[in-house]
Symmetry: C2
Subunit: 139 residues, 2 copies
């Protein structure tokens, strides 16, 4: 299952936008209902992905792109798939002396890559701005 970091990250970005950056990690933690360090940890990933910027000692977070230019895929890539960007964990070390063991990996690669591509395609089509739009339309 994809970790809750992903949905928390979208929550964080929405709050930054709505409060125009004048917000601290402790406030965000109060809205998410978790510890400020959890928030700062996720913000650190968003920062490394070039989505936000913040500075030690300074209250406030800057969005480096408008939310309409930040897709779910951008967020997903920022906080998930740490090393190899692969969704399906194909077992390695199959027995090369077995015909099936020798070829199973290459047989799985194409369809599973395609499935991941479709998932990412869909994630690319929603922006965080749409989330804020939905939230603002609620009472």
């Amino acid at each position: 299952m994809i970790s809750s970091r992903f949905s928390v990250a979208i929550h964080i970005l929405s709050l930054i936008d709505i409060h125009e950056g004048k917000i601290k990690s402790e406030y965000i933690a109060g809205s998410v209902n978790t510890n400020p360090v959890v928030i700062r940890r996720i913000m650190s990933m968003l920062g490394k992905a070039g989505l936000i910027e913040s500075r030690a000692g300074v209250t406030g977070i800057k969005l480096l792109k408008p939310l309409s230019a930040i897709s779910f895929l951008d967020v997903y890539r920022a906080v998930e798939l740490p090393e190899n960007d692969v969704l399906f964990n194909i077992h390695r070390n199959s027995n090369p002396q077995c015909h099936v063991g020798r070829n199973i990996q290459s047989a799985l690669e194409q369809p599973l890559t395609e499935a991941q591509r479709q998932l990412e395609n869909t994630l690319a089509q929603t922006t965080v701005a749409q989330v804020v739009g939905h939230i603002q339309s609620q009472s």
Copy 2:
């Protein structure tokens, strides 16, 4: 990341088909390069999903459907998503006194459900028979 159970399950089904069911868990384990109990554990899930049938004491596994009728989605559902069938873990317990916290969950539900649906759609379009076809076309 989706666990390797999924790819191992496809490996198992391919072997059963190629050997026409005359095969034991120990042999499969040799091809996958793991412990027979790991294989039997996954076979148990495939059995509960109605894809295969085997009996204690009897060598051999029966496919309950032709591989051309077993999609990657069938296998995925058999061995992953144990309880709630949800791919994205949305954080619960957001602060209901915060406008964002109160509405983030409903804002995320629709796009994430759609993304999962697209992934599953793609998985539904590949069958395990295609994997066996690919393997048999190799040397």
